[in-house]
Symmetry: C2
Subunit: 460 residues, 2 copies
């Protein structure tokens, strides 16, 4: 994109010369919405200079592209008056997202800079629960009556329309202001001018509640391929709309949360590169400690078999191999099931069909590893005496234990997320390390039980 | 959404009566695009019946909502002629996605049903590499000349426009057919009718190449908040466009791939619930076997310390605890770094700042676990003699080894994805289980080395 690289170079030159008139002239022909993503990674000081020189629209358009850190810094470099103007002009959904990231006292200060109307809007949006549809709403939308003509609608848009994402759908309200349909703007473009709105309606629309979780919104967008969805109250009165451009971000954030939990950490909720180190350590430590406490039971379990280990030290050699295989099988199963649940591929009531699949997969995978494990011991024993004269029995113990443990890992890994979901927890909490820990402890018991069964009378 | 539930119930009643006229009448007032997602989960036989009764547009609109299995079944229930009509009418991007999922011979058969023009289109799209932008292109877009007026553009759209997602942007071409700008359709709605297109242009646009990876497209969409991006060749000739509605699916698929790899499995590339069991087992077995072979080195490593274990069996008791803690720390670090890389939060050249963070985090996390580990041994020893008279030395061994292993796990987990990326591999390959396995082997060596250092002369 050479054109855009040039823009930045030329703007930087103007900024370096502090050429206010030049900047204004340079930016003037651009649509703020187009310039915003290009300049978003300039330094905050440069942005502040640029925004002082140019239109407020550019600042408003650029603001949502900045990360929270840059947003805060930018506000600090602007005068109180400029901050107020900027905040008042920001689209309500972007403003809510920004205020939400701030400490309460700073947010309150900024709220006090808003005009009474905008403050009422901001406060009402912030009153919705975190991660709810209400927080993502924007309040600009085009509403029309069913008896208007296409020409009237186009005239209305030309007069009152905003040049924003929100101008993709037109909402048709009845005489009581209740939503009766949504019609794509392009349908108006494709219809004869004298046609009444009524004839473009099909009575089919999907609405969200402001208290819906944003994951619900994401699913609805995916299912219905819409660019915007109306948010209504119980009386079908339209409160605002949510647009698809926010959904890419939601999808990304939700995936990040799931991935981080799967990796055995609390969700950071902030970028890895900018989160305070102490906060990151705290978030990681909590899970590591939980896992550590769980894993302590392996020491207890091993303690029960101390006598066996003393008699047959060779058994201890395979402990990490055997139990980690169970953990790996469990991690796989848990990850696949958690992702399938998140994508809505199956429901809780399908647990039996999942379990059946994992039974088959677990036995098959266990047999594969069990055979390899046995062969490894057989081959090593052909060349050295490391596993003693009873190596076939040791091999059988390891091989058989592997079948049991891999099967057990697959079952635990696949069922635990379902159980967590059934109990109302986030299935992604049953992370790979969590499953691995659980399977480690039980795996030890399986391993030594098999050993007792096979080796009693010979080595034990 | 009671309205939609009703639709399905009423349609099912008509289908049960095989009331062809009734179905046609019932569906007639609907926009196919609105009805499609509602009926998409009907049985294939019902859909076939419905599509025979109603307009071809409904079948075309519904087809992309079906999963591959249902699509195949549907085509089998339709006559050759109906299949040809349906395939010819499908939007090229949806058709490409469908054909791509089929075995080559079936795809070839279907291609032969297309009209020569549509076959040329389909073949050219399928010629682009898998997961490339070319595969996702659609070829319907609105192109105008810079000297047209707004009124002319609106007239052109009304005459030649399609009622599709693609009607959100208008592409301005110069006399040689080269792209010179893209303008949002709504800008035409907001402008006086006599204004020339030239005055709506800002010369700012972003293009994709058909050979670009779809992840590149996703990043560009995220960065520029567009609803559609033009795809151009080297001469700036526009080939097609890509729309944002396909991006939600791409984002989802990419996240699924990453998550499955992180869980220590090959990406399934198919839903968990419908993938053939044998194929799933194969995909899972390959990684399990690799991990198993890697983990075998733990048996070898433990073999080196067999003598020490025989002398101090108590050391063996803590092996699972100590090495799994390193694995967990490594999983955390790897997951966080892989996700941050996927989101573009930092670049490879920032590796040193990542390493510095992980050094601090690793030492802090190691100290936390080390202290807990020591306390556990101290407390148990206060009540029992299980860890022998030298328990303070055993505790010191476990505690110190934990610091080293957790630090080592954090470093390996964070640097391995960066190294893989540097070498041109997918960083997500360094899954949690992969890192855990690597850290298990090295963790054993750290643990027993610390033991030799501390316990020599007393227990060893």
């Amino acid at each position: 994109m050479p054109a855009q690289a040039n823009v930045k170079v030329e703007l930087l030159a103007l900024l370096a010369r502090r050429d206010v008139a030049g900047m204004r002239k340079y930016c003037e022909p651009w649509l703020p919405a187009d310039l915003a993503p290009i300049i978003a990674d300039l330094h905050v000081e440069q942005l502040a200079l640029l925004f002082r020189a140019t239109s407020r629209e550019l600042a408003v358009a650029t603001f949502p592209y900045l990360d929270t850190e840059a947003q805060r810094k930018l506000l600090k470099t602007l005068s109180q008056e400029q901050v107020a103007a900027l905040l008042n002009a920001l689209p309500p959904d972007d403003r809510t997202a920004f205020l939400d990231e701030l400490p309460l006292d700073v947010a309150m200060q900024l709220l006090s800079l808003l005009s009474p109307e905008e403050r009422a809007v901001a406060t009402s949006l912030l009153a919705y629960p975190e991660n709810s549809v209400g927080r993502m709403m924007t309040l600009d939308y085009v509403a029309v009556k069913p008896d208007w003509t296409v020409a009237q609608v186009l005239e209305h848009i030309r007069h009152f329309g905003y040049d924003r994402e929100t101008l993709n759908m037109v909402y048709v309200l009845d005489e009581h202001g209740r939503l009766i349909d949504d019609v794509r703007v392009r349908r108006f473009l494709l219809s004869p001018l004298e046609r009444p709105v009524r004839e473009l309606m099909d009575g089919n629309y999907t609405t969200l509640f402001p208290t819906d979780d944003r994951e619900t919104a994401l699913e609805t967008f995916r299912k219905f391929d819409r660019v915007a969805l109306p948010v209504c109250d119980e009386q079908k009165k339209i409160i605002g709309i949510v647009t698809v451009d926010d959904m890419l971000d939601v999808a990304e954030e939700e995936a990040t949360e799931d991935i981080q939990k799967l990796g055995g950490s609390e969700a950071l909720d902030e970028p890895y590169t900018t989160i305070a180190l102490s906060r990151m350590i705290r978030k990681r430590a909590s899970w590591l400690v939980v896992l550590f406490l769980g894993e302590m039971m392996t020491a207890t379990a091993m303690g029960f078999f101390e006598e066996e280990i003393a008699k047959a030290v060779v058994l201890a050699l395979f402990v990490p191999l055997v139990i980690s295989s169970g953990g790996n099988a469990g991690s796989q199963a848990a990850t696949l099931v958690i992702r399938a649940l998140a994508l809505g591929e199956f429901k809780l009531r399908d647990w039996w069909s999942v379990m059946r699949r994992e039974l088959v997969a677990g036995v098959a995978l266990g047999l594969i590893l069990g055979v390899i494990g046995f062969l490894r011991i057989a081959i090593w024993s052909a060349f050295s005496g490391i596993y003693g004269p009873h190596w076939p029995l040791v091999g059988a113990t390891v091989g058989l234990a592997l079948v049991g443990i891999v099967l057990w890992g697959s079952l635990v890994g696949s069922m635990l997320p379902l159980a967590l979901k059934r109990l109302g927890f986030d299935p992604a909490t049953s992370s790979a390390p969590f499953v691995a820990t659980l399977v480690d402890v039980t795996g030890l018991i399986i391993y030594f039980s098999v050993a007792l069964l096979i080796l009693r009378g010979t080595m034990l």
